[in-house]
Symmetry: C2
Subunit: 227 residues, 2 copies
Amino acid sequence: MQRIPKSTLKRLALYHRCFLDLKQAGIVKIQSRELSIQMGIESATIRKDFSYLGELGRQGYGYKIDFVLDAFEQVLNIQEKQKCILIGAGNLGRALMNFFTSERFTSELSHAPTALVAAFDNNPSISGLTINHIPILHTDQMIDYIKENQVKYVILAVPSHASQEIVDAITNLGIEGILNLTSTIINAGSMVVHEVDLAIELETLVFTAIQEQVNRKQTTIKDILDL
Amino acid sequence: MQRIPKSTLKRLALYHRCFLDLKQAGIVKIQSRELSIQMGIESATIRKDFSYLGELGRQGYGYKIDFVLDAFEQVLNIQEKQKCILIGAGNLGRALMNFFTSERFTSELSHAPTALVAAFDNNPSISGLTINHIPILHTDQMIDYIKENQVKYVILAVPSHASQEIVDAITNLGIEGILNLTSTIINAGSMVVHEVDLAIELETLVFTAIQEQVNRKQTTIKDILDL
């Protein structure tokens, strides 16, 4: 079968967000050219990406917002939000708790496919607290909690040295995926891992800015390298 | 001239990190097939990506680690680290300060193209503090600081409602790029913006996990949609 490339999966998440914003703005249909401009993605790429979801629009007619959103939501199975926990409630973890309990993420209109239900930390001065109605529990309770609540997703925000130990502990409990914010490579068996490494993101910004300067000067990166 | 696609720029940052790790492991050359397996990126994609940097290797011969790193570093102009500031030193900001002052980011071997030099916050109970030798200054001092120190990059971690106001304030001061962690769309004129939105990253993880389940069941997302 056809495997959806990673870059497409990321864009699918971006399209989903964009169509939700369009719906909220009261828009019912968008031309593919308009969508392309709004998202900064070429029409051909959008057509190719959407082809993975089936026939979502016709050439020259554009995309019906509701129809596209329905397709996304059948794939995401939004009817039942999947439970997600946060492991590690330090500075980063607490920032994530604020973010994932904000209206942007929890409102009906956000159509987020997951809901944050609990956080875990092994520091007894943090566990026991509650942030925006989400309890921070001690790591000792983590395995039982995952089993009893059929948790499907984990946001991992522990110190890097602790990451593999945590991953080993939550293996074979029914977890589908891990959002890894620890900047370490983890070995997670059959669980899907999606990494966000801010050092890489900052370097991507620098590459993009350099490319921008090069474009302004009408030279090429090859010219800089003198190759 | 040829414009480097965004997805390639992101991969260039990943290759750079990978080659630095290989060098640290004492490896001097890598076959393109090996590199492909290690990074989970197809050889053809790697060849295409590298073509933007010039002739970095020959078919069947592989890539010399030092040669590739030199090419990256000429592009990144690593000799002089660009100054980067953080705006917003709340939970997220302080987590970022710890991250960007960690050895992984600041060591000689990290070859990071930027260095975090200061943070800014408008909360007087935070400004005046120092985290890992990086001062947190009051936002009032921000514009003078940027001008005097020729700051080139900004990591934006303020509350969403404040993001555009900050961006407006730092326009035309020589800033090249903004790493936007505010989950809001900002209008930054000629400054390059790279967004990291954790809601999108979490949804990308969910898409990837669903795709993985679909693959295991040997059906397609089109089948789920019954199209």
